[in-house]
Every structure is written in C-alpha cells, then in structure tokens.
C-alpha cells in the first residue's frame, strides 16, 4: 500500500543528518554536562555548539536560548515565567492559541491572574487593534502564536509587537509551527520570548527551546539544580539538544527552497480537493499562511471518519487538532473563527513536508472525493 504522510504539523521524521549527529551522544559522549571532568565537558561542548547554532539562526546571543523538553513546556515556561515574575496582573492572548498556552492561561486565571482572550476574524487572524484595546495599566504579558497549527494562518506579529513595545508589555510568541519553516526576526517582530520546537522540524521529540530576550524578567518554573543559567533545572537532554541544533542548521540551509516547493504542492492539493468535491472549503487565510498547511472543511461529514477512510488508504492526515488525544469536539480554533458547526465538524488538516511529492498529492486527491461521497451517503444531511 502507498503510504503518504500529510501530518507534518503534528510531527516529523528525524532527518538522517540529524540522527547521524545525535548518535554519538547516547553511548559514547554520555557524560552529565554539569560534571567538570572530561566526560562531562565533552557533553557540554555538544550542548554549547547546539546553542550557538540555534542562536545564530535566530540572530540572538546563545545566552538567550533556554532548552526545554517540548513546545508545551516552552509555552508553559514563557507564560507562567512572565506572570510569576510579576506576581499579579493581566495577560492577553487569543482564542485560537494552542492548548499549551490556553490551558496555561486558564491555570493562571484560577490562581488570580486576569486574562483577556482576544477573538479572530473569519480567517483566524487577530486584529492588532484588538490587542491594543485589551491592554490595561496592569497588563504584564501578551502571548500570541505565530502560525496557527490547525488552519495555518499567520498572525500579524509585527504590528502586535509594535503595540507591545509602545506599552512596554513583554510579548511571547509561540512559534512552534513557524520556527525553521519561514524567516523569523525577533528584533523586527518585537518579540521578547519565543517558543520553538524540534520535532516539528525533523528533529527528535522531547526537546525544544525558548528564546528569552536579555533583560526580560522571567522566573524559572522547574526548580532544582543550576542548569541553563538557573532558568531550567534538570540534566540536559544532550542528544536531543544536539539533534535540535543540527535540525536548525539543516532548516537554515533548506528552508527557503523547500517553502517554495511546499507552496506549489499545497496549491495543487487545494485545487484538487476543492474543485471536484462539493460542499468543501479551505479554512484559514488564503495568503497569510504556512507554506505546507491546507485545512479543509467538508460540510456534513464527520472529520474523523475521513481521517479513518484515508488512513485505510495509507494516508495520514489529522482531524481537528492532532495534538489532543481522542478529542473529536469541534476545534476551538474553528469555533473562534465563527465556522458553523456543520462545517467545523468536518475539518481535516493536511500538512506537507520536505519529502512530500506531487504523486503523494495526486494520490490523496484521488482518494478524497469517492470517500467523502460515500460518507455523505451514510450521514443524514444537516444532522450536526
């Protein structure tokens, strides 16, 4: 059977060059980077080189990079770290954030912080003026994602960064879906903290990072030893960090050329699906979107049945947000975009990657139309 993976926003295979660089850090260079002997120093050298690579890619200083265990930890760290450093106050985020930010904000609300969740337009885009209007005298942080993982819409971070700077409010950006995929300039965008991850860019799972602009007041949320310049306790995942460093290097080299190819393949997919299938539309912004992401809304079909139907053809796509196990409620992102339920329940995300081919896309197109037709025969129109 054909196997076609179109779920790169959920996770990606580790790049062979990345794995090759990680390998010695399991059984050969195995010291604890905190140890002062040669075994430890070799491990620390691996960490240091990876930190420099990430810093070079973001054009920041290595001291501004903190490694973490995942995008979720980076988001928790940034939002709680900014909030706890101030003790009390008001935060601004949006209704379409990843749960790692949303649920963290909800946890902060339960602890007495105030949170404003700004809305989005029909494309999933935040209006910078809404952010401006939400700012209060006690606003202590703004946290917004760079690209939405479900619909691919890019947020107008430059304008929002401007607003944040004008008001002297630190800005955290969840760039888990954009880091290594499109260019990113923390200075131009006015970003004070930036979450990024490894397993979305052909690096290993279990490692990620947070950029924290020098001088940003932020406290650690994981307590213990004095690792990561006292900002994140715990023995470092050396092989993982080395992998992330190499993944970033590979992205720096391949990102631009790949983005073009992905954009072309994405258009081929959109045209091939939206044309022949009735009652289907693309969700998210038509232009301001991630190169490889195409999310479709199939009216009156339940999305998980499409995912299963395609799965049986060897195709991996995601229903709603693939990051939330077994969750088949309508995506909070689509609800915030005002998508009616009969469309929202039929949301299917295709996310392309560096090995996706035109043949893959054509195979998916070929499978989608008959599947959706058949599912609609079983489903009572208008039931949802």
């Amino acid at each position: 059977m054909n196997r076609v993976y179109l779920d790169h926003n959920a996770s990606t295979p580790v790049h062979p060059e990345v794995l090759a660089e990680m390998l010695p850090y399991f059984a050969e260079v195995f010291g604890n980077p905190s140890s002062i002997h040669a075994f430890g120093r070799e491990a620390r050298d691996g960490l240091d080189r990876a930190r420099e690579r990430v810093a070079r890619f973001l054009r920041v200083s290595p001291q501004e990079i903190v490694f973490t265990s995942g995008g979720t930890e980076s988001d928790n760290f940034a939002v709680k770290g900014l909030a706890y450093a101030r003790g009390t106050g008001h935060l601004i985020t949006s209704k379409v954030e990843h749960h790692a930010v949303l649920r963290t904000c909800q946890a902060l609300e339960a602890q007495g912080f105030d949170v404003t969740y700004v809305g989005v337009d029909a494309y999933g885009m935040v209006d910078p003026d809404d952010v401006r209007r939400a700012i209060r005298s006690d606003t202590i942080a703004i946290s917004l994602m760079h690209a939405n993982s479900e619909v691919g819409t890019l947020q107008p971070i430059t304008a929002i960064g401007q607003v944040a700077r004008e008001h002297g409010v630190p800005l955290h950006v969840d760039a888990v879906q954009t880091f290594g995929k499109i260019p990113l300039d923390v200075d131009a965008l006015g970003i004070d903290a930036l979450s990024f991850s490894s397993h979305k860019i052909y690096g290993p799972k279990g490692v990620a990072g947070l950029y924290v602009r020098k001088g940003t007041r932020m406290v650690a949320i994981q307590h213990g030893g004095e690792h990561e310049r006292r900002r994140r306790a715990g023995t470092e995942n050396v092989a993982g960090v080395v992998g992330l460093g190499k993944a970033v290097d590979v992205r720096a080299r391949d990102m631009h050329a790949e983005a073009e190819g992905l954009t072309a393949l994405r258009s081929r997919l959109i045209d091939g699906v939206v044309g022949p299938v009735p009652d289907v539309r693309l969700s998210g912004h038509p232009v301001e979107r991630l190169p490889g992401t195409a999310s479709f809304l199939f009216r009156h079909v339940e999305s998980e049945s499409i995912v299963l139907g395609l799965d049986l053809k060897g195709i991996g796509v995601s229903a709603g947000s693939a990051c939330t196990a077994g969750n088949v409620e309508p995506s909070h992102v689509l609800v915030a975009m005002g998508v009616p339920l009969d469309w929202a329940m039929g949301a299917v995300r295709c996310s392309l990657g560096r090995t996706t081919t035109a043949e893959d896309i054509d195979y998916v197109i070929e499978c989608v139309e008959p599947l959706v037709r058949k599912l609609r025969q079983v489903m009572p129109v208008g039931a949802a």
Binding site: E304, S305, L308, G309, L312, V328, E329, M379, A383, A384
Partner: protein, 126 residues
C-alpha cells in the same frame, strides 16, 4: 491495529445505509460528548424487523457499528430489539477501542428507540 478487520469492512462497505419511506419504527440516539448520532428505521412484519436502515453521523466506528447492527437485527422480534445491548453490537465488530465504545452504545440506543417507537404505535405494521 486499532480497529478490527470486520469494523474496517463495515466502515468501507456499510450495509443498509440510507433512509426508509414510511417506516414502522424510527429511533435516534446521540452521544453528547462528540455529537455522534445514529438513526434507525424499521420495517416490521409479524412482530419481526424484516428491514433495517440507518443514517449515522459520526466517526468511522459509529458507521461500522450501525452497519453491523443493521445486519444483526434483521429478522429479530421487536421485543427482542427493545433489549438490545451495546455489548452485542460491539461483539459484532469483534472489538472497539476504549474511547470508541460509545459507537456501539448509540447504535444500540437508536435501535432500542426504534423498536420502542414501533411498540408505541400499537404494533400497526402487521
């Protein structure tokens, strides 16, 4: 494999899907958590379901469960169908993952509702 081959077959080739005109019993059940819905139609003769049709909105297992149940029920007495258990529907699919047990439940629920609906009509369709 998460799903049994029988389930996959019913999902890919659902039996008895579709509407029924002038049924002798109609019933629905819905799973509130995720909006999955099953609707069954019965044609009854001599207190037995001689034809069963369904529509279902939901994930693959719900479609498969409805299809399997529609075969399971043909020829059974309406009284019998009033007692139909989710376990029997699940058994017809071999197994269901823990987080998809509700598929069998709403299908069984809709069939019981259709059978009861028939009884409440005073057992007309003789």
């Amino acid at each position: 494999m998460r799903y049994s081959p029988t389930l996959v077959d019913h999902f890919l080739n659902p039996r008895n899907a579709g509407l029924m005109r002038d049924p002798d019993g109609v019933g629905e059940d819905e799973y509130v958590g995720c909006g999955d819905l099953a609707r069954f139609f019965l044609r009854v003769q001599h207190d037995r379901a001689v034809e069963v049709r369904f529509q279902t909105y939901g994930c693959g297992p719900t479609i498969a469960a409805a299809s399997a149940a529609s075969e399971l029920c043909r020829g059974r007495t309406v009284d019998d169908l009033c007692q139909l258990k989710a376990e029997e529907v699940e058994g017809a699919l071999e197994w269901l993952p823990e987080d998809r047990k509700h598929s069998a439940e709403i299908v069984a629920g809709a069939l019981r509702a259709a059978a009861r609906d028939h009884l409440s009509r005073g057992r007309r369709g003789v």
